[in-house]
Subunit: 106 residues, 2 copies
DNA sequence: TATATGCGCAAACAATCACTTGCGCAAATT
DNA sequence: AATTTGCGCAAGTGATTGTTTGCGCATATA
């Protein structure tokens, strides 16, 4: 069983949960109200998110508030970094082509 | 069958393929040499990457060169954007705490 | 103390996954 | 013309997924 950030964000419902938790900490029941799946379905996703360390829990009485571990998302950002350089240089190339076309028009 | 970028990058072998193709276009056979799985195993991944539009093909005789569609990775970057704002503000808060501690020491 | 509520665990399900092996087609080499 | 090479397609395998329903344990309310 693979448990990493990439796996964590692979499912659309999990990305929706992440979006919710970015706004505020929430209990599983509160999250479930936003989706068409059962409370337990949501809990299963939370379990995976917890295992990926994308989410942490805060017990409060019998309720459990889940919070987003935003720094885990930084991992993806770091992975993207190596490719950002490439697409930026590609954009610059395109930019050059365009400005050359402009010059030719003149 | 879900076919989006997030699914595309969910598998470690596929991320490795992406890394290879970032350096240069390659045939499936060439890629397979880098991994411990069969040529067909690699081809299965390529198929998924193609369906996610993370990869495009260029036929050249009987060989097929695959190239990385870097702009598709930008989609992830765009998704991350909303969270970047959050972790940056969190970092600034931490920064404040640290500089306050420093002041107190003085 | 009895009952209701919030939650995780466990088991079950079909669907999808990552792989493999075997095949056949088309391009290249002999 | 015969053989080799590069590739995708198809079918098969066991493992993992997303989901559900039923359970039991705590905490809260009556």
């Amino acid at each position: 069983m693979r448990r990493d950030v990439y796996q964590g964000i692979a499912d659309p419902t999990r990305r929706a949960i992440i979006a919710l938790l970015a706004l505020q900490a929430m209990t599983p029941n509160a999250m479930a109200e936003h989706f068409n799946i059962s409370r337990q379905g949501v809990s299963n996703h939370i379990k995976i998110l917890t295992e990926c360390e994308l989410v942490k829990q805060e017990h409060q009485g019998r309720e459990i508030y889940y919070t987003l571990e935003i720094k885990k998302l930084k991992e993806i950002d770091k992975w993207l970094e190596q490719y950002r350089a490439i697409w930026e240089s590609q954009f610059n190339k395109l930019d050059k082509v365009l400005s050359n076309l402009k010059k030719q028009k003149k």
